[in-house]
């Protein structure tokens, strides 16, 4: 009898029964995108040209719109939505991730971070942490990035003057959320570019408000802007630059086609 009933099940299965399928997971490469790093004019009239730009990022999340999915996600009766909800208040719901720590080097040469796992969907944002560089990240102790979360170096030009500078950023207190990422990802042919923009929408420069030459240590000496600089004016400038650099408006994730 049971054997006959199993035969019924067999026929029914043949007619259309099927197993559950997990959401397809796409493996998408992630790399630094330096295409928006070009000479920028600050509000004080300085032209800034970067020659070096790097950061150390960790645990990247890629987010789909929570509003669009809210009604049709498993509702409150199934899932709690606590205040610490990962993704929530980060601009969406997590549908992609790249776990781990990565040196994100834009200049002098763009680096590749690894392969993120994404679910198909319309993405609206990204979120990642900036962490202090360690030897385990491949950053040697003599590297100025060591112990810092990011570094920007280059030249500032004004009239006939030129100043070499480097900014050493301490890590921010929180993850950087709401990084713009507007793309539909439905296959693994894309490369996600983590883009640094020196000029945000509205023409605001990352270096606005920094009077480089007023902070210059002396003729021929490079300007090092860091939180542990003895000059309080320099520390104020560091704080201003840190606030700007770790603001999502100077960052973007782009889906670049081709591999």
């Amino acid at each position: 009898m049971i054997r006959s009933l199993r035969s019924v099940a067999f026929v029914a299965l043949a007619l259309g029964c099927s197993a559950a399928e997990n959401p397809p997971r796409l493996r998408v490469k992630v790399a630094a995108d330096a295409s928006e790093i070009r000479a920028v004019l600050t509000d004080l009239g300085y032209e800034v040209r970067l020659t070096e730009a790097a950061a150390v990022v960790a645990d990247l999340h890629f987010l789909v719109s929570e509003t669009a999915t809210a009604r049709y996600r498993p509702a409150d009766w199934l899932l709690p939505r606590a205040h610490a909800h990962p993704g929530h208040h980060h601009g969406g719901a997590i549908a992609g991730e790249l776990a781990g720590r990565f040196v994100l080097r834009w200049l002098p040469e763009a680096s590749r971070l690894g392969e993120a796992t994404l679910l198909s969907g319309r993405y609206v944002g990204a979120s990642y942490a900036f962490v202090p560089a360690e030897e385990n990240d491949g950053v040697e102790p003599e590297d100025p990035l060591h112990g810092r979360a990011a570094l920007l170096g280059g030249r500032v030009l004004s009239d006939e003057r030129e100043l070499v500078f480097v900014v050493l950023f301490d890590p921010p207190d929180q993850r950087m959320d709401h990084v713009p990422f507007d793309a539909v990802i439905d296959d693994d042919s894309a490369v996600l570019g983590l883009r640094l923009k020196l000029e945000a929408d509205g023409g605001v420069s990352l270096f606005d408000g920094i009077d480089f030459f007023a902070l210059a240590p002396g003729a021929g000496e490079p300007l090092v802007i860091a939180s542990d600089h003895p000059d309080p004016e320099v520390r104020v400038a560091h704080q201003r630059l840190r606030s700007a650099f770790f603001h999502h408006r100077f960052h973007e994730v782009r889906a670049l086609r081709g591999r």
């Binding site: 049971i2 054997r3 006959s4 009933l5 199993r6 035969s7 019924v8 099940a9 067999f10 026929v11 029914a12 299965l13 043949a14 259309g16 029964c17 099927s18 197993a19 559950a20 399928e21 997990n22 959401p23 397809p24 997971r25 645990d59 999340h61 509003t67 669009a68 999915t69 809210a70 009604r71 049709y72 996600r73 498993p74 509702a75 409150d76 009766w77 199934l78 899932l79 709690p80 939505r81 606590a82 205040h83 610490a84 909800h85 990962p86 993704g87 929530h88 208040h89 719901a93 997590i94 549908a95 992609g96 991730e97 776990a99 781990g100 796992t117 679910l119 198909s120 969907g121 319309r122």
Partner: protein, 667 residues
């Protein structure tokens, strides 16, 4: 190939044998003593698909509780993601109605949906209903009848209490199940619809932390005559239930073998549900009028301690939460129908329901220590409605129905965590129209249009003094063919459009208005009574639910379901029911897909004198079936860095199991 043909032949033989066995038995036994009560055509239809489930549909198929009776409704899928004591999730006509947010349930007219329940809006808990004391179930798919109230978006069901004719007198039942189930039931049915039913249940459940303990009592008393001064009835019910809440298993863990198919994802989740409910109704009928009034009230308590996401939200302390709800409600409903001349009837309906509630949500440790208060809210809320409509016999062939319903929600809510207090209102006007065209004696063409509404929950009023009611416009066109009592066929097409979906997001504190969605579908039903005592029921339901803007399918809702049932009663005291049900894979978020499901359930009973013995077998095929499937993020281990991505989780349906019931009719 040969084996497939052989299997198909075997399958065919088995189905044929199962279907023909009662016929053979009946033929050998001579004339049949039993003729099932046909209530399906008695009440005027608001739409083609509306129907009353008859006692044989309710009695002859396996059931564990009263909510299981809804499985007999074609196109309605039930999902249990806890254990038996928890309210189920309803899926109907392209709507994921959650625990009742879009599916209205009433018992003898008393609304059961808990409007602002902490666990889920519109939460339906039918633990108090003793299944032996349900005599009929009226189901309307879509919002087409004037009496359908808030939450009747996808449809509604009204349970009619009473002891079926074949259970009159005093009767005691004892059930033993193959998975540690012990249930005792006592029913007494007196004259004039009076009855008392009680049950006690102990069930270890089919897997870890799926146990249930429940006690329920339900009674009804009627006096008077509906045609002479009116009849008064009183209904009273109470229940206590304690049950396990096993959470949802991660599919990848089960596939990897680190967890069993019937294990608990959450081995310590618990729930408790208690209720007191009462109502007094008055009915009076004359040749020209039909008047009904109902006063009801009750006390309710629900507590749910669950962890579905493990360490996703809080990597250190875990995501366990404790939800508590206490409420008291009272209400009044009245309906009056009057004949205006030969061809027209006027129907007016009105009512008010007032509820005082307190609810809290706490983040707790596995040991029950409170870690964080996440919600503490009290509210006084009322839902009022007024409706009027006419039913016009335009001519011999055409009946027209039209009316409108006004629903008003008033809420005074206080958030005890922030000290914020707010009051506001939401209102909705819902037109309801219908027409029945008698094409020929056996043919009916029915058209219906209606708007269903879901009021915003109490919390939403703290964000917006006038949050919108969700309004869903639905239409149905159906053809019914009933050439004789032996055959009825129904075919329906339907559509629904949700212009604006609004939900309250308690994190952002905003009422989110989401994109439009639409549903298109069709259903076919066959009811065949080839000979007295034998009935074959078949149904097929298909629906395509999509978001208007993106064209993507609405996740979680079934696209295709089909059922085939054989019900038989023989004159020598034997009765049997066999149900085969198939549910096609459902679309899930992010391109995931649920498994299909195949159910084959059997009930067979034989009565000798004062004794009856019944055997119920569920999942006769012994398949590992998934009842609920969800895509969300969870992290099994504390401190786990990865695993933020949504993954497939599921709640298993019961494995093959049997229940044996011995009944004794004492008098």
């Amino acid at each position: 190939m040969r084996s497939a043909r052989s299997a198909a032949a075997s399958a065919g033989s088995v189905l044929a044998a199962l279907a023909l066995a009662p016929i053979a038995a009946a033929e050998s036994a001579g004339p049949l003593a039993y003729e099932s009560e046909v209530v399906g055509e008695a009440a005027p239809r608001s739409s083609a698909s509306a129907r009353n489930l008859s006692p044989d549909e309710l009695d002859l198929l396996p059931r564990r509780d009263a909510e299981d009776l809804l499985r007999a409704v074609p196109g309605l899928e039930l999902v249990q993601h806890g254990s038996e004591g928890k309210g189920r999730q309803f899926l109907l006509r392209g709507f994921d109605a959650g625990h009742g947010a879009d599916f209205e349930v009433t018992v003898d007219g008393i609304p059961i949906n808990e409007w602002s329940n902490v666990h889920g809006q519109g939460y339906v808990d039918l633990n108090f209903l003793v299944p032996e004391a349900i005599r009929a179930l009226e189901v309307t798919k879509g919002p087409f009848a004037l009496a359908q109230g808030p939450f009747a978006v996808a449809g509604s069901a009204d349970f009619r209490t009473g002891i079926p004719v074949d259970r009159q007198g005093l009767r005691v039942d004892y059930t033993a199940g193959s998975m540690g189930r012990h249930r005792g039931a006592l029913t007494w049915a007196g004259p004039a619809g009076r009855f008392l039913a009680a049950e006690g249940l102990l069930d270890e459940g089919f897997g870890e932390n799926r146990d249930i303990r429940r006690g329920a009592i339900l009674g009804r008393w009627e006096i008077g005559d509906v045609s002479e001064g009116g009849a008064v009835h009183a209904l009273a019910a109470a229940h206590v239930a304690r049950f396990g809440l096993p959470g949802a298993l991660r599919d990848d863990e089960v596939r990897a073998g680190s967890r069993g198919f019937y294990d608990a994802a959450d081995p310590i989740g618990r729930g408790r549900s208690d209720r007191l409910l009462g109502g007094v109704g008055w009915t009076r009928r004359s040749a020209a009028t039909d008047t009904r009034a109902l006063v009801y009230g009750g006390l309710r308590s629900l507590e749910v301690n669950e962890n579905f996401t493990f360490f996703f939200l809080d990597p250190v302390r875990g995501d366990r939460r404790l939800q508590r709800e206490r409420s008291g409600q009272a209400g009044l409903r009245a309906a009056h129908r009057i004949r205006l001349g030969e061809r027209m009837r006027l129907e007016t309906v009105g009512g008010v329901r007032v509820e005082r509630l307190w609810q809290a949500e706490r983040k707790v440790s596995d040991e029950g220590v409170e870690l964080e208060r996440q919600r503490e809210l009290s509210a006084l809320q009322s839902l009022s409605h007024l409706a009027a409509g006419i039913r016009l016999e335009a001519n011999r062939h055409l009946e027209l129905r039209g009316g409108a319903r006004l629903d008003l929600a008033l809420v005074d809510a206080e958030d005890h965590l922030t000290g914020e207090r707010a009051n506001g209102q939401a209102v909705a006007l819902s037109p309801r129209f219908g027409a029945t065209w008698r094409l020929a004696p056996a043919w009916r063409l029915l058209a219906a249009y209606g708007r269903g509404v879901r009021p915003p929950e109490a919390r939403a009023f703290l964000a917006d003094r006038s949050p919108p009611m969700v309004q869903v416009d639905s239409a149905e066109l159906g053809l019914r063919f009933r050439p004789s009592r032996a055959l009825a066929i129904g075919a329906y097409v339907f559509g629904s459009h949700v212009q604006r979906e609004a939900i309250y997001d308690h994190l952002s504190g905003l009422v989110l208005e989401l994109g439009a969605s639409r549903r298109l579908g069709g259903e076919v039903e066959l009811d065949l009574r080839p000979m007295p005592g034998l009935r074959l029921l078949a149904d097929l339901a298909w629906v395509d639910a999509r978001f208007v803007e993106s064209g993507r399918p609405v996740p979680y809702v079934p696209r295709l379901g089909a059922g085939l049932s054989t019900l038989a009663r023989a004159p020598f005291g034997t009765e049997a029911g066999l149900r085969l049900h198939y549910l096609a894979p459902r679309p899930l978020p992010h391109g995931a897909r649920s498994a299909s499901r195949l159910d084959l359930d059997l009930r067979a009973a034989h009565a000798v004198g004062m004794f009856e013995i019944a055997l119920e077998v569920e999942n006769l095929l012994g398949l590992d079936r998934r009842e609920g499937e969800y895509v969300f993020s969870s992290r099994r281990d504390p401190g786990q860095a990865d695993g933020a991505l949504p993954a497939l989780h599921f709640s298993p349906a019961p494995p093959r199991h049997a229940r044996l019931t011995i009944s004794v009719r004492l008098w």
